[in-house]
Symmetry: C2
DNA sequence: CAGTATCCCATATGATACTG
DNA sequence: CAGTATCATATGGGATACTG
């Protein structure tokens, strides 16, 4: 048995969705910028000082995120001041929250020794929220009870190539 | 209302768990190496050719992951060959799978246009598995229905500092 | 096969200064 | 306040060659 036989990886996975997301957001600042937005920080200067990121990089990252469609600018005006922009997550950006929740969960458990400085709550009930793996029929699944499979389309693509 | 007032971010979050996890695994290769392990690829040379990563970087990354405790080496021996090592996820590494599932989910939806080359299944039932946000009492929560709060300990830390 | 060591380069980042 | 432009640097990564 060569290792190749039982592995799923291969040319068909060069652009697997994990790699795709990382290509879009896998640099060292994008996720942190999105975290700020998630945590309610919306303005350039505040993000900059919170994150300790350089102004040029923050400017670049925000532009990229807007371009990607995960962030949008919203005009606002302080009384007696000119109109400026603040930044908000788009729907596409909000759908990234599970990534942040997963990162936070692992960091809570394995970096911060069991719990972190932030907890997540349902806005209505106030109950704590967490991420779970479930089957379509609603059964909980542990991470080690899960296996990846090539989708039908990927198998077909692989077959024609061989 | 200054933006500062309604944001959660601040000095107490410099080492929030998202940043912590990213610090450990946020480089451009670690997650991809872990993906290979998740997909069943365990040997150095195979990972190297699958990923198109340079040998030195792969070597370095594997060492770091072992050091972090998310990967361990397991000796194996091909008949008539000397003993070598292969790599496996530890429990701590397996607990990182939700991060990969979340990345995959977003990539499926927003990079690969609705579906990707890989699906995840319960080993037993074969049913598809996905990530869900739920309250402790089992209610499903949409990403936009969720808000972050400072934990009790973080509030206390913040209070003493001010 | 499974690495390690060396060297070189591209690029990401930060510091600083400037602008509306 | 909210950026943009320029520059210097550091670091990450690849290519290559070597070793057990």
């Amino acid at each position: 048995m060569t290792p190749k036989d039982d592995g799923l990886a291969g040319p068909s996975l060069d652009h697997c969705s994990i790699a795709g997301t990382l290509e879009a957001l896998g640099d060292s600042w994008s996720i942190l910028v999105l975290r700020e937005l998630f945590f309610g920080v919306r303005r350039f200067n505040e993000m900059q000082s919170e994150l300790g990121i350089s102004r040029s990089v923050l400017s670049d990252r925000l532009a990229r995120l807007v371009n990607l469609g995960v962030v949008r600018t919203v005009p606002y005006q302080e009384p007696g001041d000119r109109v400026r922009n603040e930044y908000r997550l788009t729907r596409k950006g909000v759908e990234l929250l599970p990534v942040m929740v997963a990162l936070m969960g692992w960091g809570d458990a394995h970096v911060n020794g069991g719990c972190g400085p932030v907890t997540l709550h349902d806005k209505r009930s106030g109950e704590r929220v967490r991420l779970e793996l479930r089957t379509e029929s609603g059964e909980r699944v542990e991470p080690n009870e899960m296996e990846p499979r090539l989708s039908r389309s990927a198998r077909k693509a692989l077959a024609t190539r061989q």
